[in-house]
């Protein structure tokens, strides 16, 4: 998780600096973002090649297993199931987090009432709640999505509140003096002003969602990547366990990359105006 975010951070940095010379610097920034991954993979490959430890199979063995299970569809079906849960959960989390965050950010009195509750719930370890939630709501896909949504909502909610509180006071004065109607003020002033913070909140929520996605499939489940990992681990199919974990990591990385690309489009004004 930490390595993913640091890679993203350097990518953002290089892209901003490298804008004038796009040709060779794209290759360079790609190299800068990927060289360590390549080094780690190569080191892993050779260091694990002659492993005799049952719990540390060689990378070759892990990749062969991964290739086999991807080809025969065992993992693909699980991945589709898991990713569906993740996206629906994130969508619910974003919708709830943004709407509640805008409300709480604008309404000081409401925020002061709700504040302790928010900080209580966000401090609760989300993964620990999974067995309880599934125990109460059952084994279906719904409770899993709900659990992901619940865990992902907090960083989005808190960041949205922060973003709303950080809206430039002069722009608020402008909105008042020019008598901008409330709904328009929310949609066209507060929401865009808070958007950089909201997006940052969603970026924090992504890895949380992936973790909870996997954990939620480890309890009373017969589908998904989490089930694949737990099941293979419980039956001592160690290469499968590693393959599943590796795949989750790769999926997380790819989602983060896609997210950064989407963010750069959405927040073009923010990066270009240098207001960060």
């Amino acid at each position: 998780m930490t390595s993913t975010t640091s890679i993203l951070a350097t990518r953002r940095g290089t892209v901003r600096k490298a804008r004038p010379r796009s040709g060779d610097s794209f290759g360079r920034s790609l190299l800068r973002a990927t060289w360590l991954i390549v080094v780690v993979l190569v080191a892993w490959w050779f260091l694990s090649a002659n492993s005799t430890n049952f719990f540390i199979p060689s990378l070759e063995q892990i990749l062969t297993t991964l290739g086999r299970d991807l080809a025969n569809g065992v993992i693909v079906a699980g991945a589709i199931y898991s990713l569906t849960n993740l996206f629906v959960g994130l969508l619910i989390a974003a919708a709830l987090g943004i709407i509640l965050g805008l409300l709480l950010g604008e309404l000081g009195w409401l925020r002061r009432i709700v504040d302790p509750i928010i900080h209580f719930f966000r401090s609760v370890p989300q993964a620990a709640l999974v067995p309880m939630i599934i125990g109460v709501f059952g084994m279906g896909q719904g409770p899993k999505m709900g659990t992901i949504a619940f865990a992902c909502m907090w960083p989005i909610l808190l960041n949205t509140i922060d973003g709303v509180l950080g809206v430039e006071p002069t722009i608020r004065k402008f909105s008042k003096v020019y008598r901008i109607p409330r709904s328009l003020h929310f949609r066209k002033v507060v929401l865009p002003a808070a958007l950089p913070q909201i997006v940052a909140g969603i970026r924090v929520a992504l890895p949380i969602g992936i973790t909870v996605m996997v954990v939620s499939e480890m309890f009373a489940s017969i589908e998904g990547l989490g089930f694949y990992i737990l099941n293979s681990s419980a039956t001592f199919k160690v290469p499968e366990t590693w393959a599943g974990a590796l795949l989750v990591g790769v999926i997380g990385y790819v989602i983060s990359l896609l997210f950064v690309l989407a963010e750069r489009r959405l927040l073009r004004w923010y990066h270009a105006s240098g207001s960060q």
Partner: protein
């Protein structure tokens, strides 16, 4: 109290747009009460350009916030177009000091200018047309698709002025609008405001700490000073329509009025 500098240059007798009577403002209560403004009176007639000049920290920003309806005075009344206001009024538009912060970086300049019109319920085609017209009026023809952060400070302040004009208010309140641009840009913007006043007949109330700017622009200069602040002098400038950065400022009457205001501000 009013000094007549030139008999034939009376401000045109327009209808009264703003009437401030006995306005006082303070922060805090009881022993810690901090009085900012006391018993301020002000009249603004249609077509007038009034400068309010005072030293830094005298309470000019508080005064403008009260006049724009953002703050409620502790005592006294503000009448706009004949009714006492209790908040922002559609006949008032404000040009803020901080142009870079009052424009929205996520909107093009056209959208920035058109946005308050959307708030008034004007359709998209119509409000874009009005926005483009007003951008042209401030010398930014064809720049509607640019974003504010692609523009210089002076151009951004022009956008803010266009936004205030497009809102079609009767009185433009300007809060030290040229305080954070360089000298040459400042002269350009001052001349732009004079041109807009003459061509469009807008009524302007400008707050500044700069005596030269106050005199150069206004028909009437209102001097505020003391603590709590109150009106200590009013001067009819009488420079007429044709103003020139060099000639007007070299006018002996300009020097006289300048000396008088400086004397006022020093004594108090």
């Amino acid at each position: 109290m009013t000094m007549q500098l030139q008999a034939d240059a009376q401000p045109e007798a327009g209808t009264q747009l703003m009437k401030v009577r006995g306005m006082s403002m303070s922060y805090g209560f009881g022993a810690s009460e901090n009085k900012i403004l006391e018993d301020l009176n002000l009249d603004v007639a249609s077509g007038e350009f009034i400068s309010i000049v005072g030293p830094s920290g005298v309470g000019k920003t508080t005064l403008l916030r009260c006049l724009s309806g953002l703050l409620r005075p502790k005592a006294g009344t503000i009448e706009v177009s004949g009714t006492v206001i209790s908040g922002p009024h559609p006949d008032l538009a404000v040009v803020f000091q901080d142009y870079s912060r009052s424009l929205m970086p996520w909107m093009t300049t056209r959208d920035n200018v058109a946005f308050p019109l959307q708030g008034k319920g004007m359709g998209k085609v119509e409000r874009n047309r009005v926005a483009d017209e007003n951008l042209a009026a401030v010398g930014l023809e064809g720049q509607g698709d640019k974003f504010p952060w692609e523009m210089s400070g002076g151009m951004q302040q022009r956008v803010a002025i266009a936004r205030a004009l497009a809102y079609n208010a009767k009185v433009l309140l300007m809060d030290e609008p040229f305080a954070s641009v360089d000298a040459q840009t400042r002269f350009d913007l001052e001349d732009l405001v004079i041109k807009l006043k003459q061509e469009l007949g807008v009524t302007i109330l400008l707050v500044t700490h700069d005596i030269d700017e106050a005199l150069y622009l206004a028909d009437k200069v209102v001097v505020i000073a003391e603590k709590p602040a109150t009106v200590v002098d009013e001067i009819i400038t009488g420079f007429g329509e044709d103003r020139d950065q060099l000639a007007t400022k070299a006018d002996p009457r300009f020097a006289d009025a300048r000396a008088r205001i400086m004397h006022r501000l020093r004594k108090d």
